[in-house]
Symmetry: none
Subunit: 202 residues, 4 copies
């Protein structure tokens, strides 16, 4: 898009970082962790597999991240940041409220099921029941969920439906796609849009 770097899409930048043994091992570890956590959850993933996936030894991870929990938090933070950016970009310039929500849902689903494992980590709903970790993750998500809240709040003014409940339903539904979406049929975007269209009133 920018004339300085013609022809280089976002996804290409990501892929080249994941595939090649990049110079930046921290990033490699972050992405490998995203893949593992996303596939197996916090408890199911293990540091050796993350290390192998990142092309380092298990011990090396601890130079960059204090602990498994800290690694998860870092991955999650990066994912939330990227998601926030993706949704923000998707709704920029659109004014119709329902259309904005639909674009946001499409972007969310697209990002969640994209090749970048980083983003997928948002979905496996929550790794632990109590404790520090959960609190940290919740805090990270708050900004993102807030943004979705604003998209929804004005949509159903005079109805009996609580916008907060609806927001949580929508996000849960969109996150659920991570567990059943398979490439080949509808695109993630379409799937996300369908939910909003099913809800759309006007």
């Amino acid at each position: 898009m920018t004339p300085e770097r013609p022809g280089v899409t976002m996804s290409e930048v990501m892929r080249s970082a994941a595939d090649s043994r990049s110079k930046n091992k921290r990033q490699d570890i972050l992405e490998a962790a995203a893949r593992q956590f996303s596939a197996s959850g916090f408890h199911g993933a293990n540091m050796r597999d993350v290390a192998a996936d990142a092309g380092v030894l298990a011990g090396s991870i601890y130079y960059h991240f204090e602990s498994k929990e800290a690694l998860y938090v870092a991955v999650h933070a990066a994912a939330v940041d990227m998601m926030t950016e993706a949704v923000r970009a998707a709704i920029a310039g659109i004014t119709d409220p329902w259309q904005r929500l639909e674009e946001a849902a499409a972007a969310h689903c697209e990002a969640l099921n994209s090749e970048s494992a980083l983003l997928g980590v948002i979905s496996p709903v929550f790794p632990v029941s109590g404790g520090d970790l959960r609190a940290q993750l919740t805090a990270q998500r708050d900004v993102y969920e807030q943004m979705f809240g604003e998209l929804i709040d004005g949509l159903l003014p005079d109805e009996e439906i609580d916008p907060k409940v609806l927001r949580l339903h929508i996000l849960a539904a969109l996150n659920g796609t991570k567990f059943w979406y398979k490439p080949g049929g509808k695109t993630p975007s379409d799937i996300g849009r369908q939910l909003i269209r099913a809800l759309r009133r006007t």
Copy 2:
């Protein structure tokens, strides 16, 4: 046995004992496992905690269940059975299609967030990424999800929305309540109903 309370058998008395530690250890283990799996997921839960929760020693579980996976499958099966029964009962006698769906959603949410830990296990969508376990659980759920599918299929005949996608969205949203519902505000039933009402066309 005692003439004072005819018709009450010894074992019934024992089962309802104050300490609630029933004679049926298998059931105790099943419920304890449901609590632990539901709270921490398959990998996060461990057999010692399940055992402690059930009031037995870890080794004793293996008399009743072959393995941790088998225990999970058993819990899951019991939960799906109870859910199926709950939903079936909730929609019995109701004819209006949207009303049937609303009652089903209410029943699902109610059961999912009820005190009976057994049911909560349905939600953490899938404990492991691949392997036998996943296949078994999927099979168990199929009947249940089929039932939901039938409730939805006829609702949106002439629209651009794929009923299968909608079904998955609805179930994901309802299951998501497990992660955010807190007693005190709206009831689980209400929360479930809100989703359907937001979707309702007629």
Copy 3:
């Protein structure tokens, strides 16, 4: 001494527990740990060596003791108890204050350098600088050091010497034998007695 168990000395009982693969693995672990901690200190010892020494696998230790620290505390507690008993027995029936102190010192040195590794653990002065562990060990020793204090308090009534300081000096000197005593020359008893005789006034 007791007619019920003629000819069985304390040390024989101890040795037979250490040598043979006794039924009581907990005791085996305790004694193996004492040997390792006593030889290498808390940080220098490792659980695998303790396990090997005890004839179990490393993981098995954790059935009996919660952690390395807990194991150390247990060893230390047992050692303090035995020391207390040994000194108490040594001074029983003796009335001359200096003689009581001399017997106590002899018993302390003897126990410290005896074959029972359990006792030797008392000496390596303190394994960690701060934290819980140190506090627990200090508490365990207090009773024992109190007993020594009582033996010393009345000895130097009208002099410029602080009995508390003297007690700490004496215990440090006696504990120091663990680092230089070698079998073959003077007995541990003798070495302990020499310190008290050098101090003795009357």
Copy 4:
């Protein structure tokens, strides 16, 4: 340079700078190592903490010292040298044998518990059970302990007490102060003197 403080070189000014981070990194590392070893023992201390304490990175230590053991030996050697010098200075010019011993004990205690962490390392009697390290440390101490031996040898000519045993008792007692001395009460000097006065015959 500045006319106000003639004779003060630039490097001296820098060494005494407020942040006390001297130009001489080797010395910084030595002192940091003394602090860590003294507080946690050889095994309990780790190179990263030493490095952090010295204001360098862990890898940098290895420019100055070959290994952790070499670092310990260097610290120990420096400490023994300073101790030897301190005691030698304390007894210079004094002729009464008991007084000489008392001054030596006072100097030893004072140095051991002084702010200069370097000296404290002498006390934790021996960091490892066997091996090269122990032999090197023993050799370093020999000179120092010899000096103490000479102070004691002539004191108790006609008694039943072995001067060598007494020397070891005295040194152990004095070293023990490292573990219980707390600023605020008696000075280290006083504490050291009390031991000798308790032993003094004439």
